[in-house]
Symmetry: D2
Amino acid sequence: MIPRYTPTDFAALWSTEKRYQTWLEVELAACEAMEAAGSVPKGTAAQIRPLASELVPERIDEIERTTRHDVIAFLTHVEELAGAPARFLHRGMTSSDVLDSSLAILLREATDKLIERLEKLLTAFRGRIEEHRKTPMIGRSHGIHAEPITFGLALAGHYAELARGKRELVNARATIAVGKIAGAVGTYAHLTPAIEKDALTRLGLGGETVATQIVSRDRHAVLTSAMATVATSIERFATNVRHWQRTELTEAEEAFAKGQKGSSAMPHKRNPVLSENLCGLARVVRAAVTPAFENMALWHERDISHSSVERMLLPDATATLAFMLDRTKGLVEGLVVYPDNLKKNLEMSGGLWASEGILLALVDKGMGRQDGYVLVQRNAMRAFHKEGSFVDLLLADADLRKHLSETEIRNQFDLEHALAHVDTIIDRALAVGAAS
Amino acid sequence: MIPRYTPTDFAALWSTEKRYQTWLEVELAACEAMEAAGSVPKGTAAQIRPLASELVPERIDEIERTTRHDVIAFLTHVEELAGAPARFLHRGMTSSDVLDSSLAILLREATDKLIERLEKLLTAFRGRIEEHRKTPMIGRSHGIHAEPITFGLALAGHYAELARGKRELVNARATIAVGKIAGAVGTYAHLTPAIEKDALTRLGLGGETVATQIVSRDRHAVLTSAMATVATSIERFATNVRHWQRTELTEAEEAFAKGQKGSSAMPHKRNPVLSENLCGLARVVRAAVTPAFENMALWHERDISHSSVERMLLPDATATLAFMLDRTKGLVEGLVVYPDNLKKNLEMSGGLWASEGILLALVDKGMGRQDGYVLVQRNAMRAFHKEGSFVDLLLADADLRKHLSETEIRNQFDLEHALAHVDTIIDRALAVGAAS
Amino acid sequence: MIPRYTPTDFAALWSTEKRYQTWLEVELAACEAMEAAGSVPKGTAAQIRPLASELVPERIDEIERTTRHDVIAFLTHVEELAGAPARFLHRGMTSSDVLDSSLAILLREATDKLIERLEKLLTAFRGRIEEHRKTPMIGRSHGIHAEPITFGLALAGHYAELARGKRELVNARATIAVGKIAGAVGTYAHLTPAIEKDALTRLGLGGETVATQIVSRDRHAVLTSAMATVATSIERFATNVRHWQRTELTEAEEAFAKGQKGSSAMPHKRNPVLSENLCGLARVVRAAVTPAFENMALWHERDISHSSVERMLLPDATATLAFMLDRTKGLVEGLVVYPDNLKKNLEMSGGLWASEGILLALVDKGMGRQDGYVLVQRNAMRAFHKEGSFVDLLLADADLRKHLSETEIRNQFDLEHALAHVDTIIDRALAVGAAS
Amino acid sequence: MIPRYTPTDFAALWSTEKRYQTWLEVELAACEAMEAAGSVPKGTAAQIRPLASELVPERIDEIERTTRHDVIAFLTHVEELAGAPARFLHRGMTSSDVLDSSLAILLREATDKLIERLEKLLTAFRGRIEEHRKTPMIGRSHGIHAEPITFGLALAGHYAELARGKRELVNARATIAVGKIAGAVGTYAHLTPAIEKDALTRLGLGGETVATQIVSRDRHAVLTSAMATVATSIERFATNVRHWQRTELTEAEEAFAKGQKGSSAMPHKRNPVLSENLCGLARVVRAAVTPAFENMALWHERDISHSSVERMLLPDATATLAFMLDRTKGLVEGLVVYPDNLKKNLEMSGGLWASEGILLALVDKGMGRQDGYVLVQRNAMRAFHKEGSFVDLLLADADLRKHLSETEIRNQFDLEHALAHVDTIIDRALAVGAAS
């Protein structure tokens, strides 16, 4: 997390203060569950809870320099503040009961924030999809003009993909919202499954099926993969914005703020820097995936090698993805679309996009598919080399005219026909997105 | 895929023959749908279908050397075999309609095979869990003796994790079983959504919400991540087998076949080579994850950069994971467990594992947690340095004896008590696994 | 390795036959060294060597199914063929002495082949660089027109990068060409350092400084990273070819073979599929990097987890990179460059590329940099929005004309001046490449 | 970078202050070169240089919120401070001239710091290697006892690997210490190669052979791979420390500080947490490798997608590796070695390690290798199953005694003989390390 790419709420979520507050929250929930079970005196948690606001992170860090153990340092500090009642905290628990349940709380909150942002992004897309439902443009495969689509359809493709990503995040949220209050090696040696269930319910968490000393790390890998999927879906969109904004296309552009400067050397530049930035940040989010997998195969009932990785990469990945979602929402909302340029580019290839229709018309007249292909391709290549417009070349090709009349040829150049099903596809996407 | 690590059924699944057969299957399903819709003469598919067994992969490859386009080569060959009716195949379709729908069929089949194997592995685990429900062993964190668990509980942890992995695979199967018969840029310019729906239903596939020229590659990334999760869960288990088999532990061993040799130099060796192999293969499966993400951000309505990656890594990842599941099943079934050694190791630390119980007993007597910690730790360290057994040292510690009686001390060394909740945890795991 | 992407010589290099031949080569070199040292009867190797051509891989595989150990199976087979003398083979050696020294030989050969191919690619580049030294084109940053370059200069940038990659490969070759004949845990317990040195010298290999049971795996990671660097440098070039070939640019195109077909649906398509394929294959080569790192941290004096990874990914990565180098060479040689289109695109922005020169001219007249920027940018934006050509707008801007005369303005649009240093840069690149 | 894992000097190196200071350093070096070349008035740099200490990072950030361009914001602030002379700064330059030359300076400094730390670590190793040159221990392959080594030899293997890693870092330093003062698209349109050379020489940097708008990103990938190699070499060492410290081995332990606590639940624990932490941090350093490769294939003369990745991951990777090197040095120096336990473990397998020697003795007597193997293995397996000590079983095996006398058998159990060459290997390692 660097300030440049960290939304305020994620800076707060991953702060030291929040970390210790959440630890205390877990300790108190466990304490209350033990009070209810009778293993700790009633009222203990109630006595300690008001002290939450008095926790001094710096003091905990100071103690840790001696104990070299963060949870023990924390408990020592709580004992400093609360005195005698504090000794009932953490009863039968191990550090990971606190750490992993806290991490589950923080990751659940992070995931909720991501889902909320993703929903806003989907909303932003919906507006622009409707706006450009019928704005024709050339579809491209391999960067080469293919057949017509609409700008709204292109957006709908990104929208549908992001809606699938939301489903992955929602699944991952369920996987990650799992804590553990089961003691040293997960056996409840000085606890009970009932106490764990009560405590975790107070925290809104499920319980690990079989904990070792810790919650199993496949759960975190699942979350990280889901985040990488969403980040990469954004990268696909951002890549297309970069294409659309190329000088030669200028089909759409990032909004250029008043006062913004594109280049220190070249005052004429308007660069798709937000989109490029999103492509880079997707690499950062994905960078957490392999370490998350490498964190899974811990030794025996646990080793702590996963901890340093999670301290660095979970805040990084979640905050960066949140930043990306915010930025992409702004990008979508502000995107300046140039329908005239879309039209100009669509038409620049002189109707080459109709080549498939001509081929099919020939097949319908009884010509073999591969023979027809050759006949159409030779005219396409001439048009491509600027020897005439495609339609004129076709009309002038005697071999071809043996099979197709002028009307039959001209019919294939009808844009309305080519785009007849676009509404259906867009409606389908919006329905799927709404249900996601 | 190398023969050494490729199950027979996966060699067949990813063969050239199967590939072309599946292409034809897709073309014929689409043809039948078009027949039903009236855009192709009735009976076309029925005429061509019997020729499926006559496809000659080598001939298709030969034609491809001229056309440099695999689907066109395939269609040319079908036209060679079927003559006139073949010209109605592929009507309004683009190569990716065939390729991506076929890939969906093959990946659905691959995923089904993986799920089936994983279920068998879960079954193998269940047997050994029951067998060792109550076989005590020392739990270890950081490789250091912690507190007692049972061998069955350790297995149950792996079982529960793999059952979660099954859920990921099942989700991924739904995500990947999606085809597309929508033409060049997904607009059904010469097709209809109804024809696609009919064709894909015949193939048992869902339809892409918004296709570009292709099915969106986030779907394949989701499958790859799910496979990596399962592979890495296996790695965690294999890592523990390797630990258990260490000379100093010898708690469990891979079955050693008659005639097997451990080392070309050292005839005494019995090495956990299957488990080490599984750890390596997990790296191979994971290696497909990043390329699968890098395949997502294709340009505009598609580029073909994903194709070479998928040709190599999807067969590799699926076949390797299948091989891993088979091998792990054998490993679990054949695992030789040494209860005597488990017991010996459990006892070797002279009851140090009871230190937490002593600490809690002190806290119950009113001692502050950190004070109690110091008191217990000093005896633990002496026991660790072989200055006496832990229980004897505790009994001889005058400061400690001010708070605890001999009985109170000895009670903490009761193994039954320490393992009282293990049955509950194991039952919970088995229930979750059964429901997965 | 799949046939589609495997050059013939790499198929041979990684064949089972070659593998066993190389094992025998290592055993015989070690045997000769022991003969020289007097620990094995003179003439042993000479008796066995002629049998090399009689090795039957299938028989070795058959034996391995019993021994479950490949080197022991191999030695058993050699003993079947050679009888009594074979018992002196492998004396004091461990399997890894054979396996790792053989792998070093194969990887050295693979690396030599890669370097040779890379040199041919550099040669291909040199020809095209010279050809287009002075072919002007617009330079682009962020996909947006920036200032003029030449096509030869663009190629020279890729050339210089690939020449650096060659240096990495050459370094990696030295790192990887290291064997080991030091016995079970590398202590020469039944060998001597002198025997190892003699044997490895016969094989053209250096010796591992401190072997455990194996050659250290950092060496293989270094090679894999070097290969990934070269593959990704090719990806950068291929990405630019894809850009140049875009319909709107058509600045350069992949050679389109006679008979080649671009699309099964659209006969007009000419797609940069070779370049896209190269981008995908770069992902495949890079996929070997993380597993190569994960292979490094083996346990104690070795575990065998690296073996399965290397069996799959080292042939894949080396063969795929070789294929990429071949394909890229063909791509460079066949690249169809369109100087007219390069010129047309350069001019399409009405000289906006001169904006920096105007800014500098203003600064030279004493204007503050940021004030000048504002003045130039406002005209650039008007030109961008087609309100006139950039030069005319500048000439008509009264504020600007207070500082610059018509001549001073027009001078900034001189292409010769803008490209004055290009020759120097290209010469520098060619000199560096020649020295690489 | 999080404070927990960031050495102070790296926090300073990657601070905003240092960043802007380095930018100014580059601008002034370029300015001085232009003064020398006559394109900027003499004395300009000298007038501005004293203002370096007055730069206010917050003010630059404030301006950037309007310009959305960091270098322009910086220049605007310098102009605020320096007035008129500032307009000569950045003449003919583009932002990347400043950014990339600065990054080269910072990475050169970072790499120097890493090399310096690595040298200190090598020194620490040397002391412990000498100390334990002759401390015997059992070598292990696959976690199973193999043959004897010494603890010093095990350390020497790690030492030699890290010395190779130093070579990689030194190479990478040369690759990365390259700047660029060549203007917008690297053509020196308003500069000269001579000015660049002068400026970069003042900064101690080489020049990019062919710059696009930026320095080529293969250089940064090379550095990242080198860092990952060193980090993973540390992981291998840390993994072995974790093994040595296992309860059942207790061959070596991390120094346990006074006051340190191992577990919040279990006061008896002494955990190898530093080593586990190092294993985790290696994953973090490696996480930068793939993004560094993904940063290479930028579009045309540059896009800015690499920037966000580098802002986050280059500080992270360099600082984390520096922290790892510091921590590993402390770990090596403080490592508590238990020669008695090493001896006890060596002997626990009753001399099974001598099995190879017995096999070779049989071969020397004329027995076939595979026959001998069977004979030795059957005794080894009985010893393994505690049916007697290996030497006694061998002496009692009538078949074997037909070939070997008691003396010939007992000779194979001579530790001195087994370790005869260890000194040679260690000397070799120390010589290589000294030369690195």
